[in-house]
Symmetry: C2
Subunit: 357 residues, 2 copies
């Protein structure tokens, strides 16, 4: 038990934490997150898909419904892109009171290279209705949620589905998708939170009305109160994270570093514009310096940054705060909502610096 | 909060659960556990090892100390073996009272194919002392534990280190070791709990006295009480797990299935002998049937099994119980110890079977 906050977690939360895993923050060192370190959020079970009989259906308000095999998709134009994915619930445990769901602290993020074929030409070839409102993407993962038995299915506005940068991805970091990342096919929607990147994709349905499925209408919404219908979660809010310097205690997880010059490294990303600044603070956000930004990444990928910290003996709190080209910047405190979503408040990393030896 | 047990978990436990992840039980379907689904227990941070400058030192009571590069190791005889690894703390949360550490339920296991070169010939070439008592294996992962700053280091009795089936592994499932599994090199000790399979291996030290490091003397011991020095944890106790049938509720994680014939599948393993029987129960362990065992695996790997369950509407509790060639069998209840280790009590999987449609 945390003696400061008295925070405790229930078995429902622990069950989810054991299945769904965060990216350990030291993995911020990799520009491309290795499979197995990338965060994972799986609503039901990982399905067992036989790629030989699997087909992707393109259905609904289209002139020509399609049924595409993995070979068909691999024969189409091949595109690779590094894309930062973040779970909409990242930072949930740092909101008070806390929504009871997957208990993410800060690591529900990753930046992998996804390879596949663009979605938009397929929708055009199918003759997508000009009156399309939403496009619904259904996976093969099946379970019960909110008392509704369902395959995971999430809708995108038609204009978003037609963006040229959406991918139907069959590879991650140059390898076939691992089972846990959606084998054989997943949707990739650069700039949107993870709930849009439907895994184990089996059906794309064009709709001439708004998609009314559970994951759009009941879940993944920003609600101010239980009776607020809220608004759907879409683009990733600007955020940065730093790689905790020094070394940890096994438990509780406290950071220790030696005094002297420390190059603090991190990553920053946003769904609403390129990263233009990351500020760094070694005193809990009272004073800030600008970090040095790494090379401009391709759109949708995170940007590296570094800041030099002259660590003095004692206790310190490191923070970072990103700003994007839209002018959005990270808040000092979370913007609370019922589901515990889209918390992009600044990270705080306590570090104990040893006395000089 | 679990209304039955009132169990709650503290933030120390949640921090560990977010970093270290279990194998989701549906991954029991894979004979070889894909990377990213295999369980992970990492004491400190994943270290950043540059393979170009990395060397393995063989030191201590040897005639000729060695310094081996990854190329040197790859040029030696190459051996692949499927080996089941299980964390010694698997099942910890199912012991009452519960030790506060990594809060594993049941999934801290995996069965990967490890490729590398045998350790014993290297020890012989180095001229290991005939008076060797222990051999200590040090990793590059560095942190604080029990108030001791340390690289993770664990000792093996000399006779175990000279077994012909120990590997210095540089590949997992045919790929270079992922960072989280010990890149560039880890030790594999078939039949022993995970704490012996040292990751990010950098040094092998031959000792003419018992190894007195933290992970042997203070941690990873079976203690009946806090003041009991206890005995070191070594071989994996016999265990089986079943793949929960049907589909889950997102939270809390409850299983639902349709009535009718269900083939229940699972895996069984032991460090003290080949699996000779797995019994299956659909009534919480009151009555048992023998399952059908899959092909005899290579030594050290888990064995598949299946049992047919004629599911009737209502609530059921599925269990499985393995027995190995030494006669060891799984207990119905955990054998409690201070650290919450080596709990091989039978798994219990509640399943709600729907009414006939």
């Amino acid at each position: 038990m945390d003696e400061t906050t008295g925070t405790l977690y229930g078995p429902e939360e622990l069950d989810l934490a054991a299945r769904n895993h965060a990216m350990p923050l030291e993995a911020l060192r990799y520009d491309l997150t290795p499979a197995g370190l990338h965060y994972l959020l799986i609503h039901y079970d990982i399905p067992d898909v036989d790629p030989a009989i699997w087909r992707l259906a393109v259905a609904g308000a289209v002139e020509t419904p399609l049924s595409l095999s993995l070979e068909d998709l691999r024969a189409r134009p091949r595109v690779s892109a590094a894309v930062t994915l973040e779970c909409a619930g990242n930072g949930r445990t740092l909101m008070e009171p806390r929504a009871i769901s997957q208990p993410w602290a800060l690591g529900a993020v990753g930046n992998a290279e996804w390879t596949g074929t663009p979605l938009a030409p397929i929708l055009r070839e199918a003759g997508m209705s000009p009156d399309a409102v939403d496009v619904a993407f259904a996976g093969s993962d099946h379970g019960l949620e909110g008392d509704i038995e369902q395959d995971y299915e999430r809708g995108l506005p038609a204009a978003e589905a037609l963006r040229e940068d959406l991918l139907l991805a069959y590879e991650m970091n140059g390898q076939p998708l691992p089972p846990q990342h959606g084998f054989p096919l997943r949707l990739v929607v650069p700039g949107w939170y993870g709930m849009a990147h439907v895994k184990w994709l089996r059906q794309i349905r064009v709709l001439e009305e708004a998609f009314a499925g559970y994951q759009n209408v009941q879940s993944y919404r920003i609600r101010a109160a239980e009776d607020d219908p809220g608004r759907p979660i879409q683009r990733i809010q600007v955020r940065s994270l730093l790689l905790p310097p020094g070394h940890p205690t096994f438990q509780p997880r406290v950071r220790h570093a030696d005094p002297g010059r420390i190059e603090v490294r991190g990553r920053a990303w946003s769904g609403s514009g390129a990263i233009v600044n990351v500020a760094f603070s070694a005193d809990g956000g009272r004073t800030w310096i600008d970090s040095e930004l790494g090379p401009e990444p391709t759109p949708g990928a995170w940007r590296s940054w570094t800041a030099v910290w002259h660590a003095e003996p004692g206790e310190h709190e490191l923070c970072c705060r990103a700003t994007d080209a839209s002018g959005a910047t990270q808040p000092m405190e979370p913007d609370w909502n019922v589901g515990g979503y889209t918390n992009n408040a600044i990270q705080r990393v306590p570090v104990v610096v040893a006395a000089r030896r």
